[in-house]
């Protein structure tokens, strides 16, 4: 079995860690929300304010949708910033990446 070496910059460990961490956060929150619906539905059926129509199901469900977007923006900002810093230090590697 031959292992090719890849041209262009490889994804750094730090970048991979950030992506895996973001995935873990979103997965834990979303699966926790799903588990509440599956194993403790009465908690989600309770209204946020007594007598109100908005239940915890809506509040937390919209929270999951919002968290996905917020994490996406945060991930992109952090990764863009790190990429810019790396480009400053290693212009050659960046040029190689663009040339591919």
């Amino acid at each position: 079995m031959s292992r090719h070496t890849t041209s262009g910059p490889r994804s750094g460990d730090e970048g991979a860690a950030l992506g895996l961490l973001s995935t873990a956060v979103l997965a834990v929150v979303y699966l926790a929300f799903t588990s509440l619906g599956a194993f403790a539905p009465e908690l989600l059926a309770a209204p946020v304010r007594p007598g109100g129509a908005i239940t915890w199901a809506f509040a937390l469900g919209l929270g999951v949708i919002g968290l996905g977007f917020v994490l996406t923006v945060a991930y992109a900002l952090a990764a863009n910033r790190r990429e810019k810093a790396a480009e400053g230090g290693a212009a050659v590697i960046a040029a190689e990446g663009v040339a591919r």
Partner: protein
Amino acid sequence: MNTVAITCFIAIVLLSLAITWWAARHTKGTSDFYAAGGNITSLQNGLALAGDALSAGAFLGLTGLIFTSGFDGYIYAIGYSTGMPIVVFLLAERLRRLGKFTFSDVVSLNLEETPMRIFGAVASLVVIAFYLIAQLAGAGALIELLFGISFKAAVALVGVLMICYVMFGGMMATTWVQIVKACLMLVGGAVIAGLVLQRFGFDISAILKTAAQTHPKGAGVLAPAAASHAPFSALSLALALMFGTAGLPHILMRFFTVPDARAARNSVVWGTAFISTFYAATAIFGFGAIVILAGDPSAIGADGKVLGGVNMVAIHLSRILGGNVMLGLVSAVAFATILAVVAGLTLAGASAVSHDLYARVVLKGHVDDQRELKISRIATVVLGLLAIALGIAFEGQNVAYMISLAFAIACSSTFPVLLLSIYWRGLTTRGAIAGGSAGLLAALVLTVLGPSMWVKVFGFAAPMVSLDPPTLISMPLAFLTCWLVSRADRQGLGAGRMPAAAA
């Protein structure tokens, strides 16, 4: 059938053909055909991603599901919204850095090329086949209702337009048709949401309160109910919705159309903004429809069922809110949605055949650009005609299981192999193929034996396997098999093949 609908319908067909004609003039080589020359900006790609994610099912299907089941339908909107973030965290920029035209470029990078390409192409084609047949069969039924033409004619019309876009205009046409459609859908959705909110004095809790008073389930529509009856199926569904998007070939190929890794990343920020907003807003459409359609004889028949089926809820809602003009516009948007999504699927399938199988496996990369381009066009026509034939063959049959099957296979086969090939250096070719195949077969077999096929298609009283979808078993099985076989493989290599490798 009204004049506005016909006018919009014709305008959309003409506009998409004009885009195709323009794109065809700029499609000179494989890089244009597969990846739109790599010149799509982040915002454009974000809109195209939103277009792919927001299929007719996401708009008409979800609105109908919330109308029928309340929060149990909204669960799907919440789940789907987590799909695109996972793609940017784990895959988007790495696909752009490591690959050229297809995700198989990436999985075959550090492993043996021929078997990995064959695996990648076969898994892609299986996912695409189920997704495409479901879309076409759904499209036929929908267009039959919206425009009054026969099911077969509707499938043939959509199929022929789809073949034209892809064959002549490649990724350039497919992307721009998708962008135009995404804009129409986002604007249409905003207008409907605005009209619904206006009826309730822009008070969301008033919508929910009235919906709970109107719906037969009462306050039960405001929280999940079905999940507690089948908790493991609920978790299984959550996994499929979250990780399925990351294994869909027609989504993954969009990251090869942008200039660099940063653009790939930023395009998902745009895409997620549009997708999340739209999914959040499906609550307004669905719960609004519960109230607005209730007791309206133009939408609900004497038997209490929605005229034309639950997929028509969003269409009835638009007509009641905005008259024939909104009805025409929304019908046309639904039609454009179907066209754009099936075109993307066909292009992903054609790329798997011409780039992975023909250029890289059969000819080992010794192929000239123009010949590969010709093969990809032939593959487009063959796949397109096959899809039309299958779409027509499934007339009147229950195809609901096909989309969930496509998602189950995507997150149990293409996604695990792609993820491990990027992040785990220990993965071997045999491990990847064993794991990907185990996931694919498990998803397929368990779906056949599960409630959505064994009971709803074959008509048996009880399912052999109650888990639906099968992701909770098939996805971990794929990862575990990849790991076990790779480990055994490396130990075997170390002990048995060392002398051969040294020689």
